[in-house]
Symmetry: C2
Amino acid sequence: MRTALCERLGIELPIVGFTPSEHVAAALSRAGGLGVLGCVRFNDAAELDGVLSWMDDNTDGKPYGVDIVMPAKIPAEGTQVDLTKLIPDAHRSFVAQVLRDLAVPPLPDDTDERAGVLGWLHSVARSHVDVALKHRISLIANALGSPPEDVIDRAHAAGVPVAALAGKGEHAVRHVERGVDLVVAQGYEAGGHTGEIASMVLVPEIVDAVGDRVPVLAAGGIGSGRQVAAALALGAAGVWMGSFWLATEEYRTTMPGSGAMQTALLDATSADTVRTRIYTGKPARLLKTRWTDAWTADDAPQPLPMPLQNLLVSHAHNRIHAADDPTVVSMPVGQIVGRMDRVRPVAEVMAELVRGYEEALARLDKTR
Amino acid sequence: MRTALCERLGIELPIVGFTPSEHVAAALSRAGGLGVLGCVRFNDAAELDGVLSWMDDNTDGKPYGVDIVMPAKIPAEGTQVDLTKLIPDAHRSFVAQVLRDLAVPPLPDDTDERAGVLGWLHSVARSHVDVALKHRISLIANALGSPPEDVIDRAHAAGVPVAALAGKGEHAVRHVERGVDLVVAQGYEAGGHTGEIASMVLVPEIVDAVGDRVPVLAAGGIGSGRQVAAALALGAAGVWMGSFWLATEEYRTTMPGSGAMQTALLDATSADTVRTRIYTGKPARLLKTRWTDAWTADDAPQPLPMPLQNLLVSHAHNRIHAADDPTVVSMPVGQIVGRMDRVRPVAEVMAELVRGYEEALARLDKTR
């Protein structure tokens, strides 16, 4: 399973794994892929700095990357308090009522609540870039469009390639024109922010659109070696997987209290996701639960634009997380959730991807 | 590009092509695939009989199949006039107003208008089965769920295998339990009736669900050899392609006046489709045009259930077809429409699929 991407990034397997967990990311890199740490959960740059130092020490000297959310069009300045004033009262009342209806308990009085949305702001994202470039990172990815020009320039000055997600051919071309080194073709079936064009159509379309200029990673619907083989058959130089690492042992190490979430994921079929704007304000695929159902009721308000929607629901997310109820999870995940049937170590998932890939190629050999 | 499906159906390439055009179907079979003629457009059994006799004589003795629409739950009896009474006046007025707004002219007074929906009725579908079994068909497919038990029994008694479309693993298992011989895994990106699970996830899921019991064809998003290779990597025994044949020279031979439709298809990108209930009452993917846009207006009514919606719009479809305006086409097509860039003979498309498949396998070879 070697492609040109392996040379480019100094990795053994063309499998890039996005995860908010440093334990998952490190295990991915140690297993021969590229672990990419999602930074949006770090509101405090010093905390991210500490975690990246841990990554430096726990990846056996192998490459790893970071994912920083840098949307093109959100308020660049303004504190959280200012933005909060833009949220209509009716939206707040709706969320409060839904939490009551779903019997999600309030947080204990002594909870030190996370502030939620700060990682989405330009100022915070830039502090992530500052911190990340002090560590031996091998990739900066942006989960929302092209990174800002100055970020691309600084990454390149440090010899770090930049990746960006694209859901359409024209987005991919724009990324390349702006200097992006790696395009992630994110299909409809993917978890999190996603467009409407499915991987089977999108991946070769983006491969053709960018030509030889940059390698393309296929994202969306990948959780087996057969699917890696399909992605490479479509012309991708590798795969970008996010959802599948949620059902790993290492994820729980970083994210205590994710038992209910993992239970919900193991129980879900591929039909149990929904693409909705309720998580961030932009269409994102989430696990379908009583929480997502509540937003489809006749009296439910329209979700707010980014970043207000995430601000609106961030306290609810904290309560939902603490409630530990598999039926009221709020979690981005792709349709590949139907293939998650047990919680395993990252290295075991990687080994199975390789095995399944080789079996798929052996099967294709027989067609000649 | 040989799989077990080739032995099973007596074909050279595991490419099954669904098309309402006998000229396309015959060309597909002559080129080594299996042409499957969609019968829903034949309200008159004698007309179908004549067309199948033509197929017998124009396929060089090679196998071909038929596709008959046999929904499980629609009024089995009742004439078209009875059903027509169930259509609300508000829906009729809306359709009439949209046609005026879109400047779609009325039909000339002397038009011998087709009756539209009859092919969807059980009685008509059964007459199609009667007629088809008199010809040397190699497959009966049902584009809507499992065929009725008596149809399966009669096909098997005649030595003809039966195929059914599935958009979920559980549907595929139900088909197999009812005696279906071949499952078509139809992904979200497909044209016509389609579910929400994309091919990358759906195909291996259905392959695993049915196991060794029956072969699985991948449908949805296939229009290049790379995509055929991806489908086979996912575990499919072959592919089922429908949309792609709309942009062939042979299609125009059967369907005079399809110039505007073909123009619209060539102009469309993969983002220019929409999954909507306006064509038949069930979710189906159509080309996005001013006609589909009209149904998303705030004052547009909800589509009616099958088969009433198709009855409601069948006269509109006739007027739209006659109008020959690429911006007001009503046409089922998948996201692969973005790859349709010129009108070609079927044999040329087939040759390119084979070439692209071999290139994809050669590329995969280099990853070992």
